[in-house]
């Protein structure tokens, strides 16, 4: 598989050097392993094993934290890795929400609302990618925290905590963050690329 090109890694006081990071690296392996938790989660929910379902989703969340740590240890951060991590987040938590709603453990309507807002956010990111010409260097502190809220929603549902109120409350919080991030992505000037931020190759950026 072709490695991501055009990445720069500039150390303090050193001239920027091109560095190629293979997508087949330990951090991405940890990210990919999160997908293995999904069928097990479905199995646990299908059989009504609340505790196992919660623990499996917790393991999925811990793997999310672990991949960043592995990327730092093995020095294998890449634009593909960041994108893959975001896709894994959306797939895992989206799947979790759909499953708990489908099995009646959580209200359906707010879950549909959350998934719709998530789709809108994905479209905004795609527009930003086209506008900025790079996939990364866009960090949303608020959206990172919202991912943790999604974890609560699934955890509350599997652990039989109060769910309805918190599922509905998620919608205005997510909408506020989405409005703020949309302004940043579509209206605000694009910030300059960070020294460590991997960028798309010029050929990719001009597509």
């Amino acid at each position: 598989m072709t490695a991501l090109a055009g990445e720069t890694l500039a150390g303090p006081g050193a001239a920027p050097a091109r560095r190629v990071v293979s997508p087949w690296n330990p951090a991405n392996a940890v990210t990919a392993s999160r997908f293995f938790t999904l069928p097990v989660f479905l199995w646990a929910v299908h059989h009504g094993y609340h505790q196992w379902a919660t623990l499996i989703m917790l393991a999925c969340g811990l793997l999310d934290k672990l991949d960043g740590l592995v990327a730092r240890i093995f020095n294998c951060k890449s634009a593909f890795g960041e994108l893959f991590d975001a896709i894994a987040d959306a797939a895992c938590y989206g799947f979790g929400l759909i499953v708990v709603a489908a099995y009646g453990w959580a209200p359906v309507l707010p879950v549909v609302g959350v998934l719709t807002l998530g789709a809108v956010n994905t479209v905004m990111r795609a527009i930003y990618l086209k506008r900025a010409g790079r996939a990364t260097n866009y960090k949303s502190y608020a959206m990172e925290r919202l991912v943790a809220y999604t974890g609560y929603l699934i955890g509350f549902a599997t652990a039989r905590f109060e769910v309805t109120f918190f599922y509905w409350l998620f919608l205005p919080v997510m909408a506020a963050i989405l409005v703020y991030d949309t302004k940043r992505m579509l209206i605000d000037p694009i910030p300059p690329a960070l020294a460590l931020a991997p960028t798309l190759a010029p050929a990719e950026a001009t597509r």
Binding site: Y49, Q51, W52, Y141, A142, R145, Y149, F156, V173, A176
Partner: protein, 72 residues
């Protein structure tokens, strides 16, 4: 298939995971927000940090209240 722990132990465990972690998170984001207030607000990345930490406080509060509600 048996549960890995008793219902009571599980409720305590989940409360620690959600409520406990949310409380620590609330404290950290509150500290981050106070520190970010001293930075230059005209920098967009600083504004984004402030907004993110504020939302972090809201979400952490929801985590604490959500897990506390189970016991009340």
């Amino acid at each position: 298939m048996t549960n890995p722990m008793s219902d009571y132990a599980f409720a305590v465990f989940i409360t620690i995971i959600t409520g406990g972690v949310s409380f620590v998170w609330f404290c950290l984001d509150l500290r981050n927000l106070v520190l970010a207030r001293t930075l230059d607000g005209s920098d967009p990345s600083v504004r984004d940090r402030r907004f993110g930490y504020s939302m972090g406080l809201v979400i952490a509060t929801i985590g604490v209240v959500g897990s506390a509600k189970f016991w009340l």
